[in-house]
């Protein structure tokens, strides 16, 4: 492969190696509209990949196609991760990268793989109200069927609805937000990624003198919204962060060149290699269901008639 452009995928594409993977892959951005001939994406050294890894691998492939980075790109040994691609429901999406099939075609959204695991197949969050309503209704009803009608479903509803709402409200035609969830009876993982504006850029006008990673940390505080004059309450990311804290779970928010991570009550927010857009990953322990009632302690004296 003389004179070819070769990118070797790292050994691990997992949440614990997120920045390493993005650092390796974000050279894609400089190839926009280059239509490079002889590009090879090599998976020969890849040993393990998780839900966030499959999602981001797909997002890079999607970016390269939508932005004409390569001319007839080739993959080598990608079959090594076929089972994980299928497990997380990305088979159709990644297949569409190789064929002339319409990448936006509908596909079966929800699957229960077995009685022990649950999958919300990748959902593309369009700026299309009818699509969103239908997806959310199907998605939430399936969650309830698998986890029952109780506090666990309530917790998953809360984080997914706030996450979808956030990504939806900041999306445009280019951002292509994708959300996927995978779980069993002890934990649930939810991953969402887009190629949109990014959190820091959306809040920059409110905090012109703050460093990027400071802005990312502020974005998770209660009441912080990039659209303060709208109906956005700025509660979404704060509620997700609080839920993860109380749940002793894990949350990663990666936007542009900043990385925020919460593991239980421990938080860090640091500079990171560039991702054009936002990534959110969370893992929740189903043994500690956290709901809205645990997070919002309303102290209002409103005389609402609740019966």
């Amino acid at each position: 492969m003389n004179n070819a452009l070769v990118i070797n995928l790292p050994e691990r594409i997992e949440i614990n190696y997120l920045t390493t993977f993005i650092r390796k892959m974000n050279s894609f951005y400089k190839y926009k509209n280059c239509k490079i001939h002889q590009f090879y994406l090599v998976a020969s050294y890849l040993k393990s990949i998780d839900i966030i890894g499959v999602l981001l691998l797909y997002k890079f492939m999607e970016y390269s196609i939508m932005n004409n980075c390569f001319f007839r790109p080739r993959t080598i040994d990608i079959h090594r991760i076929n089972s994980q691609i299928a497990e997380y429901g990305f088979g159709d999406l990644i297949s569409s990268c190789y064929s002339s099939r319409n990448m936006y075609e509908e596909y079966k959204r929800l699957k229960t793989i077995s009685s022990e695991t649950f999958l919300v197949s990748p959902i593309i969050i369009y700026k299309d109200n009818d699509n969103r309503d239908r997806i959310e209704k199907d998605c939430f009803r399936q969650i309830m069927r698998f986890y029952g009608d109780g506090d666990i479903s309530g917790m998953i509803f809360m984080v997914m609805s706030e996450l979808i709402s956030n990504f939806y409200s900041h999306s445009d035609d280019q951002s292509r937000s994708i959300i996927v969830a995978y779980g069993n009876h002890s934990s649930v993982e939810v991953a969402c990624a887009d190629a949109g504006e990014g959190i820091i850029q959306s809040l920059r006008h409110l905090f012109p003198h703050k460093a990027d990673n400071e802005i990312l940390k502020i974005a998770l505080k209660k009441g912080v919204s990039s659209k303060p004059e709208s109906f956005h309450m700025g509660y979404g990311m704060w509620m997700i962060d609080e839920a993860v804290r109380m749940n002793r779970g894990r949350l990663v928010v990666y936007s542009q060149n900043s990385y925020y991570e919460r593991i239980s009550s421990s938080v860090k927010c640091i500079s990171a290699p560039l991702w054009k857009g936002t990534i959110v990953y969370l893992k929740l322990n189903l043994s500690i269901p956290i709901n809205v009632k645990h997070i919002i302690r309303s102290s209002s004296n409103f005389k609402i008639q609740f019966i």
């Binding site: 509803f157 609805s161 706030e162 309450m233 979404g236 509620m239």
Partner: protein, 94 residues
Amino acid sequence: MINTIDLSEYAPVISSDSVAKTIYNLIKEQIQEGEVVIDFSAIRIISTKCSKLIFGQLYKDFGPQFFFDRVIIKNANENVRPSISDGIESILQD
């Protein structure tokens, strides 16, 4: 006169702007005729933004006395109630 609006067709989660606006318009139309009972039996979660879009906006449109006299929330669970309260409180802070 008491009208009832059953939200079960939007179950189990109210989280999209379009659904919130539909519910808001339904309540707004009927609230002017008398008391309105909004039945949340089938609703497990309402997003904070939707609460503000519906109840915060109604509170703002009609004022506190009219709102509290005419709006009756039925079978709202422990996760829905704080969301509704904060949706109203948030509009007051705007």
